[in-house]
């Protein structure tokens, strides 16, 4: 099935990303590309630098040297704000929801960047401000329907179980209508059923909205199932890059990460 999928141009190209924390080299000259519309996985053992990679892509970490080209625009470093407005959204390894806000408000916050009416309009809640709020409410509700979280719309997210929080976080990211979605271990800590649901949502997003997906995941069967191409990191270095089958067959990957061959 994956063989038949067609992808567009390169949407993201990262070249020579290097990042260190004190003495620790979290990333060492990592380069890879992502094609429009594909599901790209980043895998690697704990501490390999996967999350750091995502943080560099959306500007949260500032790599010492690198070129990041998104949609043909080349940057030395990204700014978080810039990354967000260019259409990059993400979820976090440790859920980073706004705990005191409801599901609906969290999802609406995902659209904040698209809302322009200034505080004077808002303080009046009148005319254009109302129109804007309602338009975005509708868009937020579409995301809520899509991820089937209608019933917890008005629930404060701090009170939700873990699996649902992960889903709300995905909803918040989707609400921004991103062109590229960075998912940091979206299925960590979920049971089998929840994982299946999450996989389905990710594939649906990819298919229905043609959103490009960059995904970090530890569960190999998931990675092999849903990704088109895989980058493997180990100690901050890229050790393999290719289709799931190629990566699985790569000896360095087997040594570094998989330990024993699966199946």
């Amino acid at each position: 099935m994956t063989q038949e999928r067609q992808f567009g141009n390169t949407i993201l190209n990262v070249e020579n990303v290097s990042l260190s924390f004190g003495g620790v080299k979290a990333l060492d000259s990592v380069s890879f590309d992502v094609l429009e519309g594909e599901v790209r996985a980043i895998i690697g053992p704990n501490g390999a630098g996967k999350s750091s990679m995502l943080n560099c892509i959306n500007g949260f970490y500032k790599p010492t040297e690198c070129t990041i080209a998104f949609k043909g625009e080349s940057h030395h470093q990204m700014e978080t704000h810039q990354a967000a407005s260019m259409g990059i959204a993400r979820t976090f390894q440790n859920i980073a929801l706004f705990k005191g806000m409801t599901t609906l408000d969290n999802v609406m916050t995902g659209r904040n960047l698209k809302m322009k009416k200034n505080f004077l309009w808002q303080s009046l809640y009148f005319g254009p401000a109302v129109k804007e709020e309602l338009e975005h409410r509708e868009a937020a509700e579409r995301v809520i329907d899509f991820l089937e979280i209608e019933s917890i719309r008005k629930t404060v997210v701090g009170r939700l179980p873990y699996g649902l929080q992960k889903r709300v976080e995905l909803a918040r990211a989707l609400a921004a209508e991103p062109e590229m979605l960075l998912l940091d271990e979206p299925m960590a800590g979920m049971n089998h059923e929840e994982k299946e649901d999450m996989c389905r949502y990710i594939l649906d997003v990819n298919e229905q909205f043609s959103t490009t997906i960059v995904l970090i995941e530890h569960d190999m069967s998931v990675v092999m199932d849903i990704s088109d191409r895989v980058v493997v990191l180990d100690y901050g270095e890229k050790i393999a890059d290719g289709t799931p089958d190629e990566v699985r067959a790569n000896q360095r990957v087997v040594d570094a990460y998989l330990g024993v061959k699966h199946d």
Binding site: A84, T109, R137
Partner: protein, 359 residues
């Protein structure tokens, strides 16, 4: 997918987004309005206006202001007294320097001054958080009051160091000065409170409020969504200080009539306003008003109620009792129910809504 009709969708969101989505709430608000605007002015006497209602409304505006900053945006401030002082002193300079200037305009301009000062003192909030920010705002509090105390230009070289409200009219009604009727001053403070409360509520439920709460709950995630921390926090400081500034102007020109900087110090203003939002409910406009009401009315209740039921207590004792009650309540609300009165009110409404079938 079985989508519901678009038309139905839309109208239901509009209704859902309304400020008071539940009809009982709308009735309740209507009653509150009738009482505040029509009943109270008919039955209240000068004592009630001056000792209870006007300070209640003025402090409610300040509490809403602080709640925007602390409750919604999560930036703890002990500087509300100073920002109120900026509003009051700016109004004083404006109305004495430009006697023809409409005093309402002077109040609003003074709010803008306070907003500017608030934003300057809000700059450190980009770097420091929580306790350290509270200390920085405390420094602002002392510094600003010290300046108003030392630089005689601010109180027009008045030897006593006081600023005094001159008589000023609006639409033929005297609203400030010793001759201004209590009922007029009552209406001025009430109208300001009404407008400011609605404006705050509207901002809080729009994308600006969500940006504030996002910064409060998880600033890292907020930044990655594209919310700019500095911009958002400074706007909170500015708007909050605008509210405090106007409240400070009303505090002197509509309520006290004259004062010196001591009226704005930590124990007289900053702490009580902070207590109001803790007791009333952090992140709630209604809570700010309830908290302000509670804290202005409790002392009066304590001095008046015991004698009414035949218990004689000294003024000293009433004062101590008041402090004990505040202390206990603050501890209670901080530990047990951080959402304050507002939350208790929500719970009560839940109960009422379900009554008599509690399932």
């Amino acid at each position: 997918m079985f989508y519901r009709e678009a038309g139905q969708f839309k109208s239901s969101y509009q209704a859902d987004q309304a400020i008071f989505p539940i009809i009982q709430d709308r009735w309740f608000m209507a009653i509150v309005f009738v009482v505040a605007y029509l009943v109270i002015p008919l039955i209240a006497d000068e004592y009630w206006f001056q000792a209870v209602l006007i300070p209640f409304y003025v402090f409610a505006i300040a509490a809403i202001g602080l709640n925007i900053l602390t409750g919604y945006c999560g930036q703890v401030s002990l500087g509300s007294g100073a920002f109120m002082a900026v509003g009051a002193y700016a109004t004083f300079k404006l109305v004495t320097g430009f006697p023809e200037l409409n005093i309402i305009i002077a109040f609003l301009l003074s709010g803008l001054f306070a907003a500017a000062v608030g934003m300057i003192f809000g700059l450190p909030s980009l770097r420091i958080k929580g306790f350290y920010l509270a200390v920085a705002t405390l420094a602002a509090q002392f510094f600003i009051l010290w300046v108003f105390n030392k630089v005689a230009w601010f109180f027009n070289y008045n030897p006593s160091g006081f600023i005094t409200a001159p008589p000023r009219e609006v639409f033929g009604f005297l609203v400030s000065g010793p001759e201004a009727a209590p009922v007029t001053r009552y209406y001025v403070s009430l109208i300001f409170l009404t407008i400011f409360a609605f404006a705050a509520k509207n901002m809080a439920r729009g994308h600006l409020g969500r940006a504030w709460m996002a910064i409060r709950d998880m600033d890292v995630a907020a930044e990655i969504i594209g919310i700019r921390p500095l911009h958002t926090k400074l706007l909170a400081f500015g708007i909050s200080s605008f509210f405090c500034g106007v409240a400070g102007a009303l505090y002197i020109f509509v309520w006290l009539g004259s004062a010196e900087t001591e009226a704005f110090d930590l124990l007289n203003v900053s702490f009580p306003v902070l207590f109001m939002i803790i007791i009333g409910g952090l992140g709630s406009v209604l809570g700010s008003i309830l908290g302000a009401g509670f804290i202005t009315i409790l002392p009066i209740f304590l001095t008046n109620a015991p004698p009414m039921v035949g218990i004689a207590i000294s003024a000293d004792f009433a004062k101590h009792l008041e402090e004990i009650i505040f202390g206990v309540m603050i501890i209670f609300f901080l530990i047990v129910e951080p959402a304050g009165f507002n939350r208790l009110w929500q719970i009560a409404k839940e109960k009422i809504r379900k009554w008599p079938f509690p399932y």
